[in-house]
Amino acid sequence: MRKGLFIVIGVWLAIASCQEIKDCELESSTEYAWVYFYEADSVEQYEKTVAFSLVQEESSEYYLFSTLDDDTVAYDTTTYMPLLLNGETHEVKYLFDTDSIQYELTMLYEPHLRIYYDECEPVYSFKLDSVYSPDFDSVVLVNRNVDIAVGTNVEVYF
């Protein structure tokens, strides 16, 4: 009987110990794709420092950077940008304005609304399908997963 009791307690402890510890902070999905800029006319891959006057999504009022908004100063000169994706649509088109030229970058993706844990707010997770631009020299989709562990999603050469 004692042996059986130990077995039962052991099984219960094993089941209890298998309970996954969850924390909303551990959720790894993000809602922005990392875009890095590189020199186009180079054999080696050199990062390019960019200075746009306005970076905004075309169909909404959302902008990542504006020279008129001091809160966005972090991206006045930069080599990379986190471009926010919209869970309500399957496509975002970002416009990168300079004083003379406007560049366009379109990202197509699959949004997925999911609940990570009972105590956390539901989050969108995204998987990029394709990316294209009629203005930059070339754009490359290097990682489809939009995740905190992913360093670069899109490389832009111009």
């Binding site: 009987m1 059986g4 009791l5 039962v8 219960w12 089941i15 298998c18 909404s60 009022e61 959302y62 926010l84 919209n86 309500e88 699959e110 949004p111 997925h112 609304l113 999911r114 609940i115 009972d118 105590e119 956390c120 707010e121 539901p122």
Partner: protein, 262 residues
């Protein structure tokens, strides 16, 4: 607190069942024919296996066990998240059972969102009873089942600080999967014992694998009716059954001249 009491209650029921199971264990050798056919002498495992093969089969069914699953019943009464009902029926063929289960399950979850799911599930498959020679229907059973669920789910929550649109306003987000179909396989391990007349009690621990869900849209379900969490590819579930056996004949006396196992 209530949840802890329910767990303690199940734990106690498990110990009771274990005690009954230990009683059964003493009959295993009898049930497998080993002790009797040796005439009380020691015998090797190979001899015991040979003797087991001599036991005639009795394939004609002798009873149907109708079981009610107490676990979803407890959840319905004491829990806030999960409600439901579960039924199981087993029919015997020699030392095997064919078992079918049907259940209904609803969940309501979330502290900062409102998620609900509702659906039905069923499973069926064979079970082998390791207590081969017993006419009372006691069982230490191992089984394999196919399971299927039809259900739907909905999510509503208020999204704050959204960059899209007016960032200062709250936005109500709603999503649903109206027609979800799930399939999976289950390995079951259970113990059942006759406790009074034709009243049976027993538990089953099931390990669920190969979960597939069809009909998922842009919203990933959180629950799978009868399975567990959608994000888990495998699940373990414990069921405690109380049931009644409907008998229409006595199980055949398997070794002539020897008393039946009781």
């Amino acid at each position: 607190m209530i949840r802890k009491l329910v767990i303690i209650a199940f734990f106690s029921l498990g110990l009771t069942q274990l005690s009954i199971g230990q009683g059964l264990q003493n009959r295993v050798n009898q049930a497998t024919g080993a002790a009797r056919s040796s005439g009380g002498k020691q015998m090797s495992v190979s001899e015991m296996r040979k003797n087991r093969k001599k036991i005639p089969r009795d394939w004609a069914p002798s009873m149907v066990k109708i079981n009610y699953d107490m676990v979803p019943a407890f959840s319905t009464v004491f829990g806030a998240e999960r409600t439901g009902q579960g039924f199981q029926a087993s029919i015997d063929f020699d030392q095997f059972f064919f078992t079918a289960e049907y259940g209904q399950e609803s969940t309501n979850r979330g502290e900062i969102f409102d998620y609900s799911s509702d659906g039905t599930y069923f499973s069926f498959g064979p079970e082998v009873n390791f207590l081969r020679q017993n006419k009372e229907g006691h069982g230490i059973v191992f089984g394999l089942r196919y399971a299927h669920a039809n259900y739907s789910d909905q999510l509503r929550y208020t999204r704050t600080g959204d960059a899209w649109g007016d960032g200062n306003q709250e936005r109500l987000v709603t999503a649903e999967n109206p027609d979800l179909k799930a399939n999976w396989m289950e390995f079951t391990l259970g113990l059942t014992a006759k406790v009074w007349k034709d009243l049976y009690m027993g538990y089953t621990v099931r390990y669920k694998v190969l979960r597939q869900v069809k009909g998922v849209g842009e919203f990933a379900p959180y629950d799978v009716a009868g399975f567990g969490l959608y994000e888990d590819n495998t699940a373990v579930r414990f069921n405690y059954y109380v049931g009644w056996a409907i008998r229409w004949r006595e199980k055949q006396q398997l070794i002539p001249g020897l008393p039946a196992v009781k």
